[in-house]
Symmetry: C2
Subunit: 470 residues, 2 copies
C-alpha cells in the first residue's frame, strides 16, 4: 500500500516550540520544595535541558541558582516555551504576557478550569483558550502534570524522576497525569523506552486529534499510545485516525466503561466518557488498536516499537519447559494466532536434534536440549527460517544449571530479530539474567514477564500488521 | 457456618517425611556443576537445611564437603526423605533400597516415564508406583523439579535460588516445574510469600486431590494454589474440593484450553488436558476459584493470604489521581463489585475535608489533598469506618512533591487493615517507595502494580468470601 503524504507535514513545525524549544521560562518557579514551581524548575535543570532556562518570579532575584525575572516581558532573549505553575486566576494575565513576548508554546499545570463543579471554571477555560488562540500559543493543559521529551532532555513536568528514563520511540498522549505517571514508572521498571509523553488534561487548544496529526509526522515517534477518558469531539479523532491509518501504530486505552468512572471523567478532565462500546467500535473501524488495560497498552507499545511486522499469524512456540509452552499456546489461540505445523524439512531436522522424549512438533518442548546449547541454537535457527512460521515465542526458565544459555540467545537473536518477530519470556530470580534481558531488548527481541503477556502482545502486533497492510 | 473437621486430620502425619524430614539423602549427589545432582545437594546445603544430609554416590567418599555413601542401606542413621537424581532406569532399584531402609518420602526428579512417546516409559512408571506403594513411600514426581518448604528451610529441588525467598502462607501445587519456577520468581520479585511448593510432575502416587486433603490440614498453609494441565482422575479432585469447600481458598489455573496445548499436555506430564470448559464449570461448582493467567493466580493468592474477608462487595475507590480511580472503577464493575454511595454522615465529613474542585463521592479524587496528609488521613478513616463500605482500593502515584505520604499510610493502615481489606496501587520510580510498599504488605495491606490488577484481585477475594460463607 502506498503511504499517503498529507498536508499535515507542516504540523511538526507548529509544535516546534513544544517538542524542541531552545529556551524555556518557568512562570511561578520557586526555591521552596513545598511548591510545585520548585519541582518544575528542578525537572528542567536536573534533567539536563540544554537550552536556556528563565525562572519567572516577581519576588526573587534568583531561583535554583538562575537569574530570575519578574515577568516574561523582561527577559532580554527570545522564549519558545512557557511552563506556567500559578493558580488558575493568574493564568489569563500570564498568557497575555506570553503573547506579547512572542512565546509560541505553553504548558499550563494549574487546575481549576473546566473540571471543577463551579461554572466559573468553564468560563475561565474559554477565556484562556481565546487568549491563547489569538496569540498563536499552543497550550498543553490546563490541569496537567506537564510533558516531557526525552530525546531533547526536556522535562516540562513537576516530576524530576522522568529525566532518569532511557529515551525510546513510543510517544504517549494521556488525558490523565496519574496514568502518564503510572505508565511512565511501569515503562521504566520494564525497560520500555518512551520518547515524548504529554498530559493533555483539559485540552484547551491541543486535543488528541491534533497530537495524532503531529506525532504521525514525527521521525522520533514509531508508536503512538493514547489514554483517553472523554472526548469533546470524537469525530475529529476518528476522522484523523482514518486519514493516517496504517502509517504508524496507534494504540488506545479508553477508560470510562463503568457508570462510576463516566461520572468521574467529567470532574477529572472536563468531559463525559460516553458510551464505551460505541467508542471501541468506532476506534477499531478507524484502524486504531484498542487495548483493555495499562499493562496491555505498554506490552503492545513495546512489541510494536521493537519488532518487525510479521507476514502472517503463524507462530512457533519453543520452550525449555513444557508448562510455559502450554500456557503460551492457550493464549496464542485465544488471540487468533495459529500454531502452524513446521515444514517437513524443518521437522525432520528437529527430530534429529531432539530425542523422542518430548513433543517436537509446534509447540516444541526443548526440555531435553537443556544442557545442549548447540541443539537449542540449531532448533531456533531452523524454526526462524521456516517459511511456515511468521513469528516465534521463546520461553525459558532459569534453573542454576542453565545459566549459560542467555549468552547464546543474545548472539543468535542479534542477527535473526530483524527478519521475524522474536518474543521471549525469560523467567529468573531477581538480579539473574536481568542484564541479559536488557541486552536482548537492545538487539530487538522483546521480553515479557509471563507467556500469557507475550502471546497477547503478539496478537496486537499481528492485528496491526493487518491494519498497515490493508 | 460451622467448619467441618474431617477424618483427613491424619493426612498431615502421612506427609511428615515430605513436609518436615529430619534427615534427607540425595541419591545421585554430585560435585560436578554440570550435573543436576550438584544443584540438588547445593539447594539443601546452601539453603540451610537444619537436618542431616546424606549424599549417596557410589564413586565418592565425599560430596559437597559431606561424607558420601554408596547406597542408602549403608547410612548408619534413619533417613526420612530421599531425593533421587538418577536416570529413569536406575529408579526402581533405588526405590527398593529406599524401602529396605524405611524411607517414607521420595522426590523423583528423573523424567523418562509416562510422559515419553515410547510405551516403556508408562510401564516403568507403573512399576515404580507399585514398588513405592508396597514400601509405603510417598512420591513427589517423577519428572519433577522437586519441591521446597520455606518454613523448614527444605529446598528439595535443583534450584538453589528458591532458598532466598521469604516464607509465606501460600502453598503452590504445580503439575509443571516450569510454571512453579515462573510463579516462584514472580512471587519473589513482587514480594509474595510462598510457603510450600510442589512440582507434581507425572503424579506417581501423590495427586492433586491428596495434596489438597493434606494442605487443608496444614496450619502453615492459608491459601492453596494449583496449576493443572491434565488429570487422570478429575472426579477425585472435584469430590475432595467439594468436601473441604470453604475451609481454605483453593485457586486453580488450568492450562490446556487450546488444541495445541492439549496435545502438549500428554507428552509433558502424561495426561491429556481434556475439555477446558467442562473442567472450569466443575471446578467452580466445587468451590474452587478459577483464574485465567499466572499473574491472576499470584495476585489472588496474595490478597487471600493477607486480607481479611469482606462482608460484601461494596468497594470504595480513593485515589490521589483521578485517572487511576477511573480505571479501578471500570475494573471493579467488570468484577461485579459495587461502588456504593457513602453514608450521609461520611459524605458530609468528606465534603468538609475536600474542596468542591473534585469528585468527592465514590470514587473519590483526593487530588486537592495532595499536600495535605491530614485531610487524606481523615478521609481514609471515614471511608474505612463507613458501614456502607466493605473494602477499599487506594491508588497513589509518586510525584516528587508527595514523597512523605507513604509514612502516614503505613501508620494508618497498620491498625485498619485487620478490619476490612485494603488494597493499594502505589506507583513510583524504581527504588522510590519500594521499602514502603514492603512495609505496607507487612501490615496486611496488599499492593498491586496497576489499578486493574488490584480490582481483579478484589473480585477474587469477594468470590471466595461468598464460597466460604455459604
Amino acid at each position: 500500500m502506498e503511504k499517503r503524504i498529507d498536508t499535515a507535514v507542516g504540523k511538526l513545525q507548529e509544535f516546534e516550540a513544544i517538542f524542541n524549544p531552545k529556551s524555556v521560562a518557568v512562570i511561578g518557579a520557586s526555591d521552596d520544595p513545598a511548591k510545585l514551581g520548585y519541582h518544575v524548575i528542578k525537572s528542567l535543570v536536573a534533567g539536563g535541558f540544554p537550552g536556556k532556562i528563565f525562572p519567572i518570579n516577581p519576588g526573587r532575584k534568583e531561583v535554583f541558582g538562575l537569574r530570575a525575572f519578574s515577568s516574561p516581558d523582561l527577559v532580554p532573549e527570545k522564549i519558545d516555551l512557557a511552563i506556567v505553575v500559578l493558580p488558575a486566576k493568574l493564568v489569563p494575565e500570564v498568557l497575555e504576557a506570553c503573547g506579547r513576548k512572542g512565546i509560541k508554546g505553553a504548558v499550563l499545570i494549574a487546575g481549576g478550569f473546566k473540571e471543577i463543579e463551579d461554572k466559573s471554571g468553564e468560563k475561565m477555560q474559554e477565556e484562556i483558550t481565546q487568549l491563547a488562540n489569538r496569540a498563536g500559543i499552543k497550550v498543553i493543559g490546563p490541569n496537567t502534570f506537564g510533558m516531557f521529551n526525552l530525546h531533547r532532555k526536556l522535562n516540562a513536568s513537576f516530576t524530576p524522576d522522568f529525566s532518569q528514563m532511557e529515551p525510546g520511540s513510543i510517544s504517549l498522549v494521556s488525558q490523565s497525569g496519574g496514568i502518564a505517571h503510572l505508565l511512565g514508572f511501569l515503562a521504566q521498571r520494564e525497560r520500555v523506552g518512551l520518547g515524548k509523553v504529554f498530559g493533555l488534561g483539559n485540552r484547551c487548544n491541543i486535543d488528541f486529534a491534533e497530537m495524532l496529526e503531529c506525532l504521525v509526522e514525527d521521525p522520533e515517534t514509531k508508536v503512538i499510545a493514547m489514554y483517553i477518558e472523554g472526548l469533546d469531539n470524537p469525530r475529529r479523532l476518528i476522522d484523523t485516525a482514518q486519514k493516517v491509518r496504517g502509517r504508524k501504530p496507534l494504540l488506545v486505552y479508553k477508560a470510562g466503561r463503568s457508570q462510576a468512572s463516566d461520572k468521574a471523567s467529567k470532574s477529572h478532565t472536563g468531559s463525559l466518557a460516553g458510551n464505551y462500546e460505541i467508542y471501541q467500535g468506532a476506534f477499531r473501524q478507524a484502524g486504531m488498536l484498542t487495548v483493555e488495560s495499562s499493562e496491555e497498552l505498554l506490552d503492545a507499545a513495546k512489541i510494536l516499537a521493537l519488532c518487525p511486522l510479521p507476514r502472517g499469524n503463524r507462530v512457533a512456540v519453543l520452550s525449555g519447559q513444557a508448562g510455559l509452552a502450554m500456557v503460551a499456546s492457550d493464549f496464542c489461540e485465544r488471540e487468533g494466532l495459529v500454531l502452524a505445523p513446521f515444514s517437513e524439512d524443518t521437522q525432520r531436522q528437529i527430530n534429529e536434534l531432539l530425542p523422542p522424549l518430548t513433543i517436537r512438533t509446534n509447540p516444541v518442548d526443548l526440555g531435553p536440549a537443556w544442557y545442549n546449547a548447540e541443539a537449542m541454537r540449531g532448533i531456533i535457527q531452523l524454526v526462524l527460517s521456516d517459511e511456515n512460521i511468521d513469528a516465534m515465542i521463546f520461553c525459558i526458565v532459569y534453573a542454576s544449571i542453565n545459566r549459560h544459555l542467555t549468552k547464546m540467545l543474545i548472539e543468535l537473536f542479534e542477527t535473526e530479530s530483524k527478519k521475524k518477530p522474536i518474543l521471549t519470556c525469560i523467567s529468573a530470580p531477581e538480579g539473574i539474567w536481568d542484564d541479559d534481558i536488557r541486552s536482548l531488548q537492545n538487539v530487538g527481541v522483546v521480553n515479557f514477564s509471563t507467556p500469557e503477556r507475550a502471546a497477547q502482545a503478539l496478537g496486537n502486533l499481528i492485528r496491526y500488521s493487518k491494519i498497515s497492510g490493508e
